[in-house]
Amino acid sequence: MNGTLESTLWDVIVVGGGNAGLCAAIESAEAGARVLVLEGAPEPYRGGNSRHTRNFRCKHEAPLSVLTGAYREDEYFDDLIRVTGGKTDEALARMTIRTSEECLPWMERHGVAFQPSLSGTLSLSRTNAFFLGGGKALVNAYYNTVEDLGVTVAYEAEVTHVAVEGGRVQGLDATIGGQTVRLEARALVLASGGFQANLDWLASAWGEAARNFLIRGTPYNRGAVLRDMLDQGADSVGDPTQCHAVAIDGRAPRFDGGIATRLDCVPFSVVVNRNGERFYDEGEDVWPKRYAIWGRLVAAQPEQVAYAIIDAGSLELFMPSLYPPEKADTIEGLGQRLGISGPKLRETVDAFNAACRDGAFTPTELDGLATEGLDPPKTNWARPIVEPPFYGYTLRPGVTFTYLGLKVDETARVSAGGARLANVWAAGEIMAGSILGQGYLAGFGMTIGTVFGRIAGQEAAAHVA
């Protein structure tokens, strides 16, 4: 197979077989281009982080498919400004938001099935369309579509070098199934994701603490193409030292634990570090608005680990966990089971309990049940931890994605030294920092990937037509 791949002059080579790359491949192939998709992972793990996604944030003026009500451009943009603190490119962001509306029917036409909002996510039923079966089902549908369109897909295909000369790409060096190949393409779409699975890179940005992070998604996003392009002077965007991390179950696998390793217990817990000390207000806001900051909070603790302590009365207030919690009849015993000082944990919990006051406990909303005279305070759901047995979860930072990426314009074109490269486009996580400079908005990564993947595919095909 590699011989044919090498001897063919491809119209469009798409690097990366996740959502963005597949959208690009579909658009290019539908425009008549001869397309090759290079997917770094073996077939069962194809799809990059799209495998782990579950929804698509979509602007709409009236009920659309599974989406209720309306979600207009200004509200969507306001939501984006809120999470990014203004770190976005308004023109690109508004274009992305506007285009999302026509993308949903396009996705349905290309095999994606949607389902009504999942249980526990009713707050998203207006803004986010959920993929039936999640992101892997979407990825499967797109692979079937590209197969029907005659696109060639190579798995375990890792690009080692993009040969940029004189402002245009001349070819690619890659290994496919372990063999080195040189590939020729008239146009190139880079959709190979971020570098969050590259622990060395994370460590150079974050310090050695990053080696204790868990990677929630694919182990194949190691940023080789991004690094290679940056080394050749491609314009970049996004903070190179930042990544999006949430607090997840500390017992999750190093890579690919995905959604199931989430823990929603923090608002009903006392959270301590290795030294048995509290370090932040666990009840600051409802969990969907706070889970993202807890990744960084835990990352800042000794050995990047924390422990959430609850009592029997709170065990069923949050989504079931993947792993059962540690359990003990006393606080001291629980500390021991978690590997932290029992007496110190007892002291912290006693101090917390003493600071709790009477009042109505309402788990489903901000109840204002706050501690008095405690530092840091717990400002909601501060109910004493007294009812045995006691339970404990280990928390670690789980990295979702990185922000540093390639800078693109509204046609998804990549540039170097401020000048557009003649035949290179980028889509998905590799350029998402252009729009999402900080924070995260649920389902927006798939929106960026779909919008820019389609644009990149159309532009690349038009370039070679």
Binding site: A113, F130, L132, G133, K136, A137, N140, L199, R254, S321
Partner: protein
């Protein structure tokens, strides 16, 4: 730079040796992963039923297993399917629990293990059934009679088939009672039965929800071939049953014995019913050869295949018998058809045929769970 797959200290996946030793334990492990993920809620009734619980007793797992129609949508969508270390393959885990449960509930014990697992055993039952009918034809040849009754009197047929029909009904009844006890079912209301009948009649749980059918004969591509084939079998079987019932009523109430003309209830039910049953059963058998056996219960593949073919043969032999009316082939074809019917009925509580009863019970139980 290397891929470091070092694990946390509390592995969730059992080793391959541990898996499979206890089907319920393995299914429970997977269901707990599903309950922390919930991406598959839209496919069928299994996932909403999972989200109604936090802990799963053995009976809960049995109920989920019988509710699962093995459409396989969740397997292909699963980000935790092998080679992922969580090794989730829920269609298979539930198929193993399901077929084990039918063997456990069957009365008397033991027979279900044989006929579910062994296609050879079911074929032997068929041969025995046909032989019994040849013997009956030879030994009980009536002095006179019309149509089939020229070869085997009505009284002889009733003497053979009334017990062959009533016995499986009683045996299945015992099995379903056991099922109901294990899964903690409550008093049944009409509303539960109505919901279950609608779900069964439309095969809602093979529809894939918002998707277009199952992932069965063509990998992760969706299709309705299996659902439609199964519907043909289900409705074909019910029409054949209606045909026999209407004949019984005509015989005893209206004193109008067989043979019946084409424009009569038994034939109007029976001919389309036989066609649907035959076409549907052979289509299901063909689809089964295309599907991945590793997403079902591989140890039951032979028994399942033999059962589907027996259903198809029952329908086909009935149609051929009707077509051969008045020819010399009738006695042989009559023995073949009635032998197939006899084998099908007598093995019902122990073959894949029993799934109809347990599935219906599971749908009723699920309707109760939703109402609770």
């Amino acid at each position: 730079m290397s891929l470091d797959f070092t694990r946390g200290e509390a592995p969730v996946a059992l080793s391959p040796e541990e898996r499979g030793q206890d089907a319920i334990e393995e299914a429970r492990r997977q269901v707990q992963i599903c309950n922390a993920c919930r991406y598959c809620e839209g496919y069928c009734s299994v996932f909403p039923a999972i989200t109604r619980e936090r802990a799963f007793a053995d009976g809960d797992i049995t109920q989920l297993a019988n509710l699962c129609h093995n459409c396989r949508g969740c397997y292909y969508a699963c980000q935790y399917a092998e080679p992922h270390e969580f090794a989730v393959n829920l269609p298979r885990a539930l198929a193993e629990v399901r077929s084990d449960s039918w063997e456990r509930f069957a009365w008397p014990h033991g027979l279900a293990g044989t006929f579910q697992r062994s296609g050879v055993a079911l074929t032997a039952a068929l041969v025995a059934g046909i032989a019994a009918l040849f013997l009956a034809l030879a030994a009980l040849a009536p002095a006179s009679g019309e149509g089939f009754y020229a070869y085997l009197s009505h009284a002889a047929m009733v003497a053979i088939f009334a017990p062959a029909f009533l016995f499986p009904v009683v045996a299945l009844g015992v099995g379903v009672r056991r099922y109901w006890h294990e899964t903690g079912g409550g008093p049944v209301r009409w509303a539960h039965l109505k919901e279950a009948a609608l779900d069964a009649g439309r095969l809602k749980n093979l529809s894939g929800g918002p998707a277009q059918g199952c992932n069965y004969e063509n990998g992760d591509r969706f299709g309705n071939a299996r659902r439609h084939s199964h519907q043909a079998v289900l409705w074909g079987f019910l029409l054949c049953f209606a045909s026999t019932s209407s004949g019984t009523v005509l015989h005893y109430v209206f004193d109008a014995p067989a043979p019946y003309p084409l424009w009569s209830l038994p034939k109007l039910f029976g001919v389309p019913g036989g066609l649907l049953l035959t076409v549907g059963a052979f289509a299901l058998a063909w689809l089964k050869t295309k599907a991945d056996p590793a997403l079902g219960a591989p140890s039951r593949w032979g028994g399942e295949m033999a059962f589907v073919l027996l259903l198809g043969l029952t329908g086909l032999s009935g149609l051929v018998l009707y077509a051969a009316t008045g020819t010399v082939l009738v006695p042989a074809l009559l023995a073949l058809h009635l032998g197939a019917v006899l084998a099908l009925f007598l093995t019902t509580p122990y073959s894949k045929m029993a799934h109809g009863a347990y599935r219906f019970a599971a749908l009723v139980r699920d309707a109760q769970g939703r109402a609770a």
